[in-house]
Amino acid sequence: MATTSSRAPAATLALHVEKHVHYITTLDTAKDTLSYHLSEHLRINGVYWGLTALHLLGHPEALPRDETISFVTSCLQPCGGFSSAPGHDAHLLSTVSAVQILATIDALDTIDTTLVAKWVAGLQQEDGVFAGDEWGETDTRFLYGALNCLSLLGKMELIDVEKAVEYVLRCWNTDGGFGMAPGAESHSGQIFTCVGALTIAGRLGEIDGEMLGDWLAERQLANGGLNGRPEKLEDVCYSWWVLSSLAMIGRLGWIDKEGLVGFILGCQDEKKGGISDRPNDEVDVFHTVFGLAGLSLLGYEGLQEVDPVYCMPRSVTKRVLGN
């Protein structure tokens, strides 16, 4: 779908806030078009990404609250899970996004949180991991997702947290990283989910922060960008997965912050707004939110503080979690 970008290169290292706000708020206007249908399978995730980005940019009111609530509640299925869009099947990833959206706009009271929490809790498997839906795919992404949304709903008592923690610890590899399952290859995204899950469960002390910090710090390349695994290309979304993991284990200083800021800013589209995976590629809302979240973690001036565990505004998680 992406064609060669003909936009101007980033002339200055500045964050083009208004352009990004415009890019995000005009994303949803073309309903019932081909591009709308093509992204239906992750529509609700897209709303979470866009909403979070707007909050970090300091424009929390830019998406109409009532319409957002209306869309999210239209995705609630009778079983208690949310789908990515009306007419699609329920899935844990959509449910997490739904709960995060409603928490952000302070509208969790518009849904039956017990029903939703019970559906999520029902996805926990015997060994502690979670499935994404009734069809049984398991992954530490889903384990993290379940802990994320159940903690926001205040319903952690519905699951076996101990078993979930044990499962995560079994995913710890000899190189210091974590994978999607015990024995799986270490991967920055999976590390984020495992470290995030342990943080939510209050069990971060069980892992070796130095070895993990080494593995994560090795993700930075000479151009300042971060990759996800050895010999992979740099990608803005890893500014989030890697950086938030380093933040959670208290080792944010182990990467070259200036280099990373420069890399992320170089991935902006100055004309259109939005951020891409690497310079001169096509932008999308996924990379936009993670680029902004990375900048926020790095203390970039003018951005709202982000919570590294939830990838939500810190003000929101403080309000919802009470700490």
Binding site: L204, E210, I255
Partner: protein, 443 residues
């Protein structure tokens, strides 16, 4: 509209009832029409999108189940991560095969109960155009997606999991992955011995499963070669090995290691391939064999600095995945004296081949000296030095603990491990308080 329907009909005809996998490529719009030279299918992007429009409107309508089934093919072909379309096909197949029931009725709310399956079957039978849907045709379709050049399909977690579901449901292979299995030590050896006992009791089923397993590994390697760092392909490969651990016993072990070494040498910057090689080594429970693998690898190391990845711009990290694999194989050795000896040999090889650097690297706890650091640019070295400095300052003088010893320490699960430091919100930084991590919701 007629053009859209023509494309839709043509594609659904070609992709239905696959007796064998086909090779699917998405072509640029310079191509005027869909090209079909069995088994090669080339689809211009524009034609695919026209077909998608029709498929979308049919799938989300009240059309009969067999029509929706065809529509789901085009949805998945266009958008690889489409759980709703894949789930529909699972329900349809269960209805046709008649095995009824899903994995977790308690969660599904009865969406895949036998009565639903019967309804789907009867709706399907109503059409004149009976689909010959079977587990085999579905496997052929997933093979086609997973071994295509379509970058999102060949690495799709949903499609790999769909394939795993098909195998588990219809071929008797159990790929669930034993989450309780430890990867090293006495417990792992016990598992291996038990698996030999189990295998002896079911030798006929084993032979069939082994043959299937080898075919599946071929698919993984094919998919891996088309998509560097194909995470879900190599995760699937781990599930395969765990389902039949005797594949890592002689004589199949030698064959599989040869195949994997060849794969890795052909795709030298593929971290997924190297990581799977170290996984196989971990599960073969034979230190002499592991030593043989390392010896082969160290011979190969001489060619590494000249390797340029397929992207052409990774010289700065050439060999990183290779060296991490060597390290992980050594770390996984059960005989600690042998492991120390292998570490010395490896370090010697590294120092032979590379420019001498700051000797403090030898004394550091962390391991990246194995990653060909001398090839990196200065900026990276600067960052590395900063980090070494931070580490040294943090740990009250240099700890002369090597990475092998550190790993062993960790596997003994020393109690009361202190992490030291956590994320601080701006507020708590200002107030001097430390945030200890989330404790769950308070609602």
């Amino acid at each position: 509209m007629a053009f859209s329907h023509q494309n839709y009909q043509y594609l659904t005809t070609l992709l239905s009832n696959l007796k064998n996998p086909i090779d699917i490529t998405i072509l640029p719009d310079d191509y005027a029409a869909i090209l079909w030279e069995p088994p090669h299918l080339g689809i211009p992007k524009r034609n695919l999108l026209f077909a998608f429009k029709v498929a979308h409107s049919l799938f989300f309508s009240d059309a009969p189940a067999n029509v929706k089934f065809n529509a789901s093919t085009i949805l998945i072909l266009t958008v690889s991560e489409h759980p709703t379309a894949i789930n529909f096909r699972r329900r349809y197949l269960l209805g046709v095969v008649g095995s009824g029931g899903g994995i977790s009725d308690a969660v599904s709310g009865g969406e895949n109960t036998p009565s639903d399956a019967e309804r789907l079957l009867s709706e399907g039978m109503q059409s004149m155009n009976l689909l010959e849907v079977s587990p085999e045709t579905e496997l052929n379709l997933t093979t086609s997606f997973l071994t295509s050049q379509m970058a999102k399909h060949n690495k799709s977690p949903l499609i790999w999991n769909w394939r795993k579901w098909l195998l588990e449901k219809f071929t008797g292979l159990k790929l669930g992955g034993n989450a309780a299995t430890t990867t090293t030590g006495a417990a792992a050896v016990e598992d291996w011995v038990q698996s030999r006992v189990d295998e002896a009791e079911e030798s006929e089923a084993t032979a069939k499963n082994m043959s299937r397993l080898k075919d599946e590994l071929k698919i993984v390697r094919c998919s891996g070669s088309l998509h560097r760092g194909n995470y879900y392909a190599w995760s699937y490969a781990r599930d395969l090995v765990r389902s039949q651990p005797c594949i890592l016993l002689s004589p199949s072990r030698e064959v599989q290691f040869d195949l994997q070494l060849t794969y890795c040498r052909t795709n030298p910057s593929d971290c997924g391939g190297w990581s799977f090689l170290s996984f196989m080594s971990l599960h073969c429970h034979d230190d002499d064999f592991r030593e043989g693998i390392i010896t082969q690898l160290l011979r190969h190391a001489e060619f590494l600095p000249n390797n340029v990845s397929s992207r052409g711009n990774r010289r700065e990290r050439a060999g990183e995945a290779f060296w991490l694999c060597v390290r992980d194989i050594i770390v996984g050795m059960e005989d600690r004296d042998k492991a120390k000896e292998m570490k010395q040999r490896t370090w010697g090889k590294v120092m032979d081949g590379l420019v001498k650097e700051d000797q403090r690297l030898e004394k550091c706890i962390w391991t990246p000296w194995l990653s060909g650091r001398a090839l990196w640019k200065e900026k990276t070295m600067e960052m590395t030095q900063k980090r070494i400095q931070a580490r040294v300052e943090e740990t009250e003088g240099e700890k002369a603990v090597g990475w092998l010893e550190r790993f062993w320490e960790r596997t003994q699960r020393a109690e009361g491990g202190e992490l030291g430091g956590g994320w601080e919100s701006r507020e708590s930084r200002e107030s001097g308080e430390k945030w200890e991590g989330g404790k769950g919701g308070k609602r």
